[in-house]
Amino acid sequence: MHLNRFSLFPALLAAFMITLTPGCKNDRQVKETPSDEVVTVDSIDQQLIDDVKTVKEMFYSMPSPLEVAMMLKQSGSVYNQELLNPLNNTSQYVTTRSRALNLGIYTTDLSYSSLYDQTQTTIDYINAAKTMAEGLGILHAIDKTTIQRLEANVNNRDVILDIISETIMSSNSFFKENNREAISTIVLIGGWIEGLYIATNLVKENPTQEEINSNELYTRIADQKLAMNTIMKLKEKYASNKHLSSIMKEIEGLRQIYNEISIETSRVVPVKDSSTNVTTLKSETTLTMTPEIYKQLKEKIDVIRTKFIS
């Protein structure tokens, strides 16, 4: 894929607009410890800009179902099985669109349940995902051996997560190999909406501004504005796919609500901890989401998710 110099313009414009957006503060201060080493940040690299004009391959990477589930777990959420897409729905998914969406939805459900050590539910949901995958023609992403390996490792969460990661990659790469990358995007959108549905049902429906500012899960929900930007890029990339186009009509309303949320991030200062070799990207964020916007967001997510699982 080749880019011309004008392709940079929307990104630069978006970044410029973000820096202009005001909002109430949820700041983090840049702190350093003695073992930290501030890494010099270079300004815009001219050679790199020249290279970008001839980029051969451009990837727009959405959060995977595993990442979505991990975000839920890390924000201190509880587990609620009632929020998962019921298993008896599998038989009603007979179209490419519904199978792809629900492959993503069931994969997020099984990732979520595995992170809370709900082993039987994880096994049940990997079977549901297997049904969806087979319906899409992916015969080896989840096979008998995968299920047996999962059953043999019910007490080993690392192995379970590795199996889930492998099944996501297998279906992802299957679509790429078969020039059906738009379907892969639909799977990821399904998984992402499921994560948002679970998240918005684990917090108060009508929060105060204070509750929004103090509960990390609300921040995670608002953060998904970033993933929305990626979805818009994928929409452009696969504009000719009719399945994705119909889904984008549903997503458009959500995008408009996300546009009301502002996220302002200061310039990153990378600080490397020489004892762990981990670099912290220090920066401050100002995120604004009012209770009214949150309410609209939750309602829209409920509507989309209901359509996706119906």
């Binding site: 451009m58 990477s61 200061s266 762990t276 070799n277 990207l281 220090k282």
Partner: protein
């Protein structure tokens, strides 16, 4: 007739070569690259392509606050070295592996959720014995963890 058959065979071969490439790339990412992410867990997304020396690729991805990430750029053997940079949305360089001994792994934790750009270039190397530019599979692998983990 035989000319038509030959043309069809050649066309079929030309059409399947990219599929073989993708398939090999998947196998390579699964068998080789994933292991290098440990103890981080691969997020599952498959971002790989066949690149030739001098070519570049970019990945746009959102990274979330206080989540531990391992970025690993994996290339098949006999390829020239890869330079990769991590940029913010304004294309300011946050990390450049050229300044870090061309290491292919980078562990980081963002304090704020943000979109980052991973930009890589297969540097020009020595051509193969036929004088053809070298090409091979390059995968961008993202590892995540449940809790803070130290680099081995």
């Amino acid at each position: 007739m035989s000319k038509l058959s030959s043309t069809l065979v050649i066309l079929t071969l030309l059409m399947t070569i990219p599929l073989f490439g993708n398939s090999q790339c998947k196998h390579f990412a699964k068998q080789v690259c994933k292991k290098e992410l440990a103890p981080y867990i691969h997020n599952g997304n498959f971002n790989a392509a066949i690149l030739t020396e001098g070519e570049t690729a970019e990945m746009y991805k959102s990274f979330y606050s206080n989540q531990n990430y391992r970025l690993y750029i994996c290339e098949s053997s006999a390829m020239p070295r890869i330079r990769f940079q991590v940029l913010d949305i304004n294309r300011n360089v946050i990390y450049d592996n050229k300044n870090n001994g061309y290491k292919m792994k980078w562990d980081f934790v963002p304090e704020s959720s943000q979109q980052l750009i991973i930009s890589l270039k297969v540097e020009d190397g020595e051509n193969d014995s036929d004088g053809e530019p070298l090409s091979g599979c390059v995968a961008i692998m993202i590892g995540i963890t449940e809790a803070a983990k130290e680099s081995p």
